[in-house]
């Protein structure tokens, strides 16, 4: 019987843990891709986003509903964006990221391998589709400083992207997929690219944009001046901006908390049921008279 209580104990422990954790995270989410399209272009958003003559700036207001302690993480969230699509995931060359133009076998990067007979560094669809919306944050007239360093994994910066490799012939083709890269910064310092190239597992994901190193008080209104450059309109994707106090993967996710509570409750009720059954219908342990051939009441 004691064995039955072990999973129950574990589960209730977990439930209490989860409940504690999930109440500490404060998040503000703002979907801006529809609202940032000016009225006249609402009918044809794709041509709006592809037209360079229309200015893409947009202002959004985010109201802080609870005290947020620094550091506050800024994420951009994309929905219905399949970064886990097989052809997309394969379209990169890790060797070229380390060796640059010296590495020639970049056939996995097709069709974004070369342009005008000159190689593209970094090649592949992942790099080509780099996210390029930008955000500036203003609170009470003063701009909040956004720390855009150290947003990528240290291991990626150190070992997967070359320190002497510079972007070359990047985003020069007829079809523009995303942002451009500054050819004077080496790849290991192009943190947006590094973050983007760690392809996400799920169709709805967020990526770290930067950090705000100040606290935000309740009822503060943060004005966000953003450049709505990135095209998610062609495939029905959504763009959201998220300010969150948690750094660990997951953020404010109610699911695990609810699941813990549910499983905890059902385990507890099972334990109670077992206890009652055990008390009422006890079968003597190892009693040989229960063997079918020993039972006196056994009738063919």
């Amino acid at each position: 019987m004691g064995v039955i209580f072990i999973p129950v104990g574990l589960v209730t422990l977990r439930a209490s843990h989860c409940v504690i954790i999930h109440s500490m995270v404060v998040e503000i989410v703002d979907r801006y891709d529809i609202d940032c399209v000016p009225e006249p272009s609402r009918m044809d958003k794709v041509s709006y986003i592809q037209d360079d003559s229309i200015p893409k700036n947009c202002s959004r207001f985010m109201k802080v509903h609870k005290y947020m302690k620094a550091p506050i993480y800024i994420y951009y969230q994309l929905d219905n964006y399949y970064q886990n699509h097989r052809r997309y995931v394969k379209s990169r060359s890790d060797k070229q990221l380390l060796d640059g133009q010296k590495y020639h076998d970049t056939s996995s990067c097709q069709p974004v391998e070369s342009n005008n007979n000159r190689p593209i560094v970094p090649c592949g669809l992942i790099a080509w589709s780099l996210f390029n919306d930008t955000f500036k944050f203003i609170r009470e007239g003063a701009e909040l400083i956004v720390n855009r360093k150290n947003i990528a994994w240290k291991s990626d910066r150190g070992h997967k992207f070359g320190k002497n490799i510079y972007p070359f012939n990047f985003q020069n083709g007829t079809l523009i997929g995303g942002g451009k890269l500054n050819p004077e910064i080496p790849l290991s310092d192009q943190e947006d690219l590094i973050v983007w190239m760690r392809t996400s597992a799920l169709p709805s994901f967020r990526k770290l944009y930067g950090r705000i190193e100040e606290d935000l008080d309740v009822d503060d209104v943060v004005v966000v001046n953003l450049m709505n450059n990135y095209n998610t309109y062609s495939f029905g994707g959504k763009k959201k901006l998220v300010l969150s106090t948690s750094s660990w993967l997951g953020g404010k996710n109610d699911f695990l908390g609810h699941a813990c509570v549910f499983v905890g409750c059902s385990s507890l009720s099972l334990a109670i049921i077992f206890m009652l059954l055990h008390v009422k219908y006890r079968r003597p342990y190892g009693d040989m008279s229960y063997l079918p051939w020993n039972r006196k009441s056994f009738s063919g």
């Binding site: 843990h17 994420y75 052809r87 291991s155 799920l202 695990l256 079968r283 040989m288 020993n294």
Partner: protein
């Protein structure tokens, strides 16, 4: 033909006016332990038929001395020398046996009477009758008659007829047949049966060379069947179900992921882990448990031959068990896949990290399920199961320490977060709870004989002092199933 008659005439001419000086008798001794062995086999519900080349009287007396025939049995003797008289004898015998057994016996689900009750019937038939019966339409009648009898004794049987009788049974039922013999005349029978056992001894090694199992004495058949046969059946049945489960859980996780990658075949778990899954992560515990697990001790199995019936009743592997296992597999794969999916939806997680979580979750789950089902623990089992889990962690760490792979450093990044360990715990508990609950309910409230025997063994192990080397004790009159 008149040959036999003429021979008799000449013999009576020569052998007259003889003065008897004495008589010598030769006893063909039975091996040690044969009566007890046969008794155990019959208690276990195994039908024992004796096929011998000896004369009828010899065969019957051997039957009595080996406890095959008892004084309580009614003997039905079929000795015919033409097809018509065979047919008539068989019909009469069937009617008589039915009358005797339905008076006091029991019938099982297939409608065949098992001959249990106070007047079991023994069929004694000789080789000359078998000549007319085998390979003709009378085989069916013989089979029917033989099923009504608890013992069949065939005498004056030629070697090919022995094989014919074995195939008569094999063709008509899905039951397993085992033939055991020690001479060259048993070879065809040994080869015809599903399992052939040869006894090496006085008559040379012909039987041994043709057999699947060879032993020194007849009584060793009992441990072969009741101990090793039982263990192997239980292990085999469990292993088949477990292997289906182990592989299906893994593949189903990959399947569920495909639904979320726009139906392209991106693998949730990286290729190296997929390969190592069957090689390092989960193979050693499977092998170790499949070889070493024992559900009951040797002594218990020999003491209670009725426990062998678990195999007859398909208790370790049957359709119901299979489909329930598959359902449980489906449920567990859903739990393993969807808990991380929902927990990490809309987060920054990358494919390699969540792949590591799925890998570790599946491996730990599969090994813990095996741990829940293992009956006899010893140090090798412990080493295999916990060692595999540790080896998995090590392999995942090594794979994520290779810079040229995509998932470089993923495990270290994700293992720093509490959500990862929460998810792992959540998956294991949620996935195992239904199976655990069902097992507990079934074992407490509807236990099978093996379960009761196991409890008795464990419970009374402390109370029993050394019982001594009692291999087989004679079973008293227990009503058989």
């Amino acid at each position: 033909m008149g040959r036999a008659r003429l021979l008799r005439k000449i013999a009576s001419n020569i052998e007259s006016n003889l003065c008897i000086l004495g008589a010598s008798g030769i006893e063909d001794k039975l091996q040690q332990g044969v009566p007890e062995a046969i008794e155990s086999l019959r208690t276990a519900g195994i039908k024992v038929w004796v096929l011998t080349g000896d004369k009828q009287e010899t065969a019957i007396s051997i039957g009595y001395s080996s406890k095959l025939l008892t004084s309580k049995m009614t003997q039905v003797i079929v000795n015919s020398n033409s097809k018509e008289s065979c047919r008539k004898s068989l019909e009469d015998a069937i009617i008589m046996s039915k009358k005797l057994t339905t008076m006091s016996g029991t019938t099982n689900e297939t409608g065949r009477t098992l001959g249990s009750g106070s007047t079991p019937v023994a069929l004694i038939i000789d080789g000359t009758s078998l000549v007319y019966i085998l390979d003709s339409e009378l085989e069916e009648r013989l089979f029917e008659l033989a099923c009504n009898c608890s013992v069949v004794l065939c005498c004056r049987v030629a070697p090919l007829q022995k094989a014919g009788i074995v195939s008569l049974v094999k063709k008509r039922t899905s039951d397993m047949t085992l033939a055991i013999g020690d001479g060259a005349n048993d070879v065809s029978m040994i080869q015809m049966a599903d399992v052939g056992v040869g006894i090496s001894g006085q008559e040379g090694r012909q039987a041994v060379m043709a057999s699947d199992f060879a032993m020194g004495q007849f009584r060793f058949l009992v441990p072969l069947l009741f101990v090793h046969g039982h263990w192997n059946y239980q292990r085999m049945g469990y292993m088949i179900l477990y292997n289906f489960y182990r592989n299906a859980v893994f593949v189903l996780v990959l399947f569920w992921y495909v639904l979320f990658t726009c139906f392209t075949l991106t693998t949730a778990i990286n290729e190296w882990s997929s390969v190592l899954y069957s090689v390092i992560y989960t193979s050693v515990p499977t092998i170790v448990v499949g070889i070493l697990d024992k559900d009951l001790s040797r002594l218990t199995l020999l003491k209670h031959p009725q426990l062998y019936g678990a195999g007859h009743r398909d208790e370790c592997y049957n359709k119901t068990l299979f489909w329930i296992t598959m359902l449980d597999t489906l449920y567990q794969s859903v739990v393993v896949f969807f808990i991380p999916l929902l927990a990490y939806w809309g987060s920054t997680i990358d494919a390699s990290s969540i792949g590591d979580l799925w890998t570790l979750a599946v491996v730990i789950l599969v090994n813990l399920q095996l741990a829940m089902d293992v009956i006899q623990w010893n140090w090798i089992t412990h080493a295999a199961i916990w060692g595999s889990i540790i080896a998995t962690f090590i392999c995942v760490i090594i794979i994520d320490a290779i810079p040229s792979l995509v998932g470089y450093w993923a495990i270290f990044e994700i293992a720093k977060t509490r959500l990862f360990w929460c998810c792992l715990l959540a998956i294991i508990v949620t996935a195992l709870i239904p199976r655990f609950v069902v097992k507990v309910l079934y074992q407490f409230y509807a236990p099978c004989d093996v379960q009761i025997a196991r409890e008795a063994e464990k419970f009374w192990a402390q109370n029993q002092s050394a019982a001594g080397e009692v291999e087989m004790s004679p079973i008293l009159d227990h009503p058989r199933r």
